[in-house]
Every structure is written in C-alpha cells, then in structure tokens.
Symmetry: C2
Subunit: 333 residues, 2 copies
DNA sequence: CCTTCGCGTCGAAGCGCTTCGATGACCTGC
DNA sequence: GCAGGTCATCGAAGCGCTTCGACGCGAAGG
C-alpha cells in the first residue's frame, strides 16, 4: 500500500494539486463544492500530508522544541505537568513537540534550529547565568524561557511569580497571628546553581515577613528524611517560639510533617505549615497541606501561546509573571 | 544571513552537491583529500542539513515518537528517567524524539506515522487490552512497547520482569527467616485499568511466597498518608505475626514508614520493609529502604536499541524482560 | 596494446509539498 | 457592448536533499 500523496487526492477529486493544497491550507478562496469534493477525497483516501515535504516547501516544520532539565533537585511532578500542558497546547495550534534534554546544551539548540527541525524553542529551568541565552538571542528562531536569566532584555520569559508566592505564605501566616516564622527551601545545590526561582521565593518571603514585623528565617533544605529531620530539629531548637513553617521543597514536604510528628509538635496546633508545591502532594499529606500551587499547566499553556504568537510575528511582552494561588487546607491555623 | 545549503558547501569545496552528500552519509567511497576539503567547508560555513529536505529525499525523518502516559497512579520519577534515557540513547543513534501524550490515542499515532513525521514509535505503559495495539500491528512504521498487552504476538515488548521482582522480594524476606509477609501494591485504579505490571508483581510475589511455604497476602494501596496509615494498621491488626512488608508503590513507600513509626513498629527490628521503587526514593527514606530497582534507564536504552534495530530491518525478539536487582539497605533484616 | 574493472566523482531526476503568476469565466457599471 | 474587476482554478517553479546511472581515469589482466 503506497502512501497517499497530494497528487493522488488531486486526481481523485479531479482538481489540480495546488487546489488541494489551498483547500487544506485555506490560503486562497475555493468554492464550496470543490472544497467538499477535495475534503471527501482526502477522507476516502486517508491522506496525510508528508511532514518533510511540507516543511521543506513552506519553511515551517510545525514542531517546537521543548528543552527539559533533568538534574538533581528538580521537581518532577511539576515538570511532567508542564510538559503535558505544553504538548496539549501545542497540539491545539497544530504543532508537535520535540523533546530535548538540557544536557544537549547550546549546541543541541543550535542543531535543531539550524536544521529547521523546529520552528521555535521552549526552555525550562533557565538559570541566572545561562550559557544558552546568548545563543537564543542570536537565533532567528523564536524562543520562550521558563524562568528568568539575569538580563531578560530581548527575550520572552514566563514564570510563576515566586516572590509573590513567598510573600503570600508570609502574609498568610501573619494573618493567622504567627510572630515567628521560617522557610525551608530547595537543596543547597539549587541555590548554588543560581536557578533564580528559589532565591526569589526566599526574598519575597523575607521581605513580606519584615513588612509584617515578623521574625523570619529562610534556609536551604536537603531532601532525605534524616536531613530534613535534623534541619527541622535545629530550627526548633534555635527558635523555640517558631510557630509557622513554609516549605518550598516538594520532596521534603512530607518529611517535614513526619519530623514534626516525631519531635512531638502537632500540626497545625503547635506549628502551622504551608507548602509551595503541586496540589496532589499537598492533598496526599497528613494533615493536608495548606499550599501555594505551582501552576505548571498555566505556565506551559502560556509559554506555548507566547511562542505561537512570536511565530506569527506578533510582538509579545518580555516578561509574564503568573499569580500564585494559596489554597488553605488543614495544616495551618 | 541566509541559511547555508548543501549547494553552498559544494561550491565552497569545489565539488558536486552529490559528493558532499556522500561525504556526509558515507554511502559511497570518497577520497581522503576530497572528504577533508568538504568537511572543512562544512565547518567553515556552519552547515546543518535541512531536516525536512533530508526526510523528504531519504524517506527517513530520523525522529522517533515517544508516547508517555500522563494519568493517575503513574510513577513520575521512573517516567522521567525513562524519557531521559530514551532521548539520550536516541541521540546516540542520531535520532530525535517527538513527545506525545497517550491521550492523543491511536489517531495521534496514525497521524505522526502517516505523515512521516517519525520513523518509529515507542509506547510506554501499554495496557493489557490496549486499543492502540491493533493499529501498531497494521502500521508500516516499527514500534516498541514498554509493557505487555494480552497478546504480544508480532510486537516488540520490553519491560522489567515484574514477576521476578515480586518473587525477589519474597525470596529475600524468606531468606531472612520471615514467615508471614504481605505486599502493598499500586492504587486500585491501576489494577482496574489492567496495566499488567502491577498484577504480575503480585503474582510473582504470591507464587514465590507459596514456594517458600510462607503466609502471604497482597493488596492494592492508595497513596495518601491517611489511607496508607489505615491500610498498614488494618494489615497489622489482621495479621499480628506479620514481619515482612513489600511496597510496590513509590508514592506510598515513605508513608508506610511513617505509619509504622506511628503504630510503634520499628523498622527493621519489628517489621522488615522492601520497596520496589527507584533508588533515590529508597535512599531518601529513613531508614533507607532495601529495594528492587525499576531500571528505567535500562528499559529506555534497550527500547531505543530495539527500535533502531527494527528500523535497520533487523529481526528482534518479541519479548525482552529485564532482570530486577535487589539492593539491601537498612530496612530489612 | 587493448580490454576490463573499480574507484571517485558528477549531473540530473525526483521526493511531496507550497506558492506565485497566469488564465478563464463571470459579473459590474457606464 | 466592452473595459475592468473578481473569483476560482491551474501549471510550474522551486524548497534542499538523496540516490541512481554514467563517466573518466589509472591499474590490472590477457
């Protein structure tokens, strides 16, 4: 069974090849009757345009690259949600998604862009001093970044407003009347890498706490149970009056609750806990965690939309910050 | 800056276009001097072959589709490890990876295959009665499945040998002298979907336990802390003599330890726990979990290799089962 | 010495599609 | 009744690459 080409469709419908093309692309007016005849032939023959030929002739591959980080300290569920949302949204724009890992580096990006394999790029987990950023600036293919490099000038960046997220947590605890609070963040390595979002959360938290006149403290946090336990214990020893805890570390969130339980602190009676994490993690914990959600889906959708707009040649804002949303559950009062 | 084509390279090197092509593909003998001249020109001009043109002319896109499930009960870290390994391995074979979600269904597979966007397909999390399997049989593009449908005849399937994994856990506990053991599995919904691997683990576990003459019990397990706690408590109440527990549920593994702690059972003094999960989860727990690792990386690598072999027209085994490996840590004795 | 062979190279024919300019057919308005 | 304009359609020229057959040339064989 030879594969069906546009010529087969044209013959079957009794029209020119170009007519079929115009019916399918809608780039020229075609009479209703002809259109219908062509469409019927397409269906009958089971025609699917050849992607390579289309890309070659139109200079549009209808594929975007999605570059995911795959390193320590990453938040998998968020990453998957994000990827899913990117794929789904891209499909709505009739595009497919080429998956790349960050360790292909700038060369990899250059390769897929220069070979016209993809029309645009979506990079996740951009660092403050990201070596790929200079390349992106140079590339003729449009790109959208998730996260912010040091200088977002001339780029298009999307992210959750982590500063607001940190602030929101502090606000919530302040509203509940807590006077001494602390934040447990990502593993140290994440800060050292300069990933930005972790620092911005801390900064937002600290600043909001200061605004409310609270005693606040923010520190990195590793992810093993024993290290979490030690960190929580240390914190509690150092700050006996502590009654509010923010956890910005999805892997550690469950362990924090376990540690508090062991240390004889009831949640929320003795300590209120707020997490910055996906909803499913928060709901699965006991007690269910009050949390600020990382809207991975929104970020993905928004990023694809921006990229599509750029592909159409539209101007888009350099920076898009998504509002965090606090969901109150059982772990805070 | 116009994009560099093969014609530019040919002109720069003073040879015919076809010669450049042959240098790059190695499909015909080219003298060392000419080859070097061409290669130099390629480098100087920064030439990258146009993917669409190449695909059109050679009928090879050098892209494979990776279809990931994105549903409840899935094991994210394993999935990511798997995806990473697929991308990395594919790159070694000079292929890229198109990411698809399972909810595009059979139509989506048909679309990417028929449009020659991809040369082959990799499907993860195949179910016992998977609606996509009939299509795969029909498709001229080769495919490799992760997991086993009811009838793997004529397909190529790869997976961890979950029955052996279950058995390995039972063997280990039997060797340690435990007489009453139980397995806590995936959430009920996973069994209802007929995903296969969960059932096979249980079957392997039960059978091995029987072989050792042990009292054994295997049941599904939800993922929230409270449900895990309840399940563990119920199990302990029903089976006071229980001293060995296998957890085949990555999200629940940590919660099981927490529940045992609350219920006053020491691990491993009172109860030995063995998990079937990725190493990082096992290591992060307290006490570190003895575990059977899901070799996501191996599975991914192996799957890509098989697919590449099929693309070359080589015959490959219908079924490839990967040996599970038990790592003894602190949670069993 | 002439034929035969193989090696290295070239030219040209597509691969299946999009797009541009051209061509009728038909309508409009003066 | 005819210039001027639309509208729908067609034909052909590429897009950048691979691949097939052909060709020239020096080496080997008779």
């Amino acid at each position: 069974m030879r594969t069906v080409t546009i010529a087969d469709v044209a013959k079957h419908a009794g029209v020119a090849v170009s007519t079929v093309s115009y019916v399918l692309s809608g780039k020229r007016a075609i009479s209703a009757t002809t259109r219908q005849r062509v469409l019927d032939s397409v269906r009958v023959l089971g025609y699917h345009p050849n992607a390579g030929a289309r890309a070659l002739a139109s200079k549009r591959a209808k594929v975007i690259a999605l570059v995911l980080p795959l390193r320590a300290g990453m938040n998998l569920p968020v990453l998957m949600q994000f990827a899913t949302s990117v794929v789904t949204t891209a499909r709505q724009y009739d595009h497919d998604v080429l998956l790349m890992t960050a360790d292909e580096g700038a060369d990899g990006l250059h390769r897929v862009a220069a070979s016209a394999l993809v029309d645009g790029l979506l990079l996740m987990d951009v660092e403050i001093h990201d070596p790929r950023v200079p390349l992106l600036r140079k590339l003729s293919e449009p790109s959208v970044l998730i996260g912010f490099p040091a200088d977002p000038e001339g780029l298009t960046c999307v992210d959750l407003d982590f500063a607001r997220a940190g602030a929101l947590c502090a606000d919530h605890l302040a509203d509940l009347g807590h006077r001494e609070i602390a934040l447990l963040g990502a593993p140290r390595v994440v800060y050292e890498r300069g990933t930005g979002f972790a620092e911005r959360t801390m900064a937002g938290f600290v600043e909001a706490a200061a605004r409310h006149g609270l005693e606040a403290d923010a520190r990195p946090c590793e992810e093993s149970f024993d290290e979490v336990h030690a960190a929580v214990k240390l914190l509690l020893d150092e700050r006996p009056g502590l009654s509010g805890l923010v956890v910005h570390n999805e892997a550690a969130a469950g362990h924090v609750l376990g540690a508090l339980r062991i240390l004889g602190r009831r949640v929320p009676e003795d300590v209120s806990v707020v997490a910055i994490c996906p909803d499913d993690i928060a709901e699965r914990a006991s007690p269910a965690l009050t949390s600020v959600l990382i809207p991975a889906e929104d970020v993905g959708r928004q990023a694809v939309r921006l990229l599509m707009a750029k592909l159409e040649g539209q101007a888009v804002p350099e920076s898009t910050l998504l509002e965090p949303r606090l969901t109150i559950r059982e772990s805070s009062r």
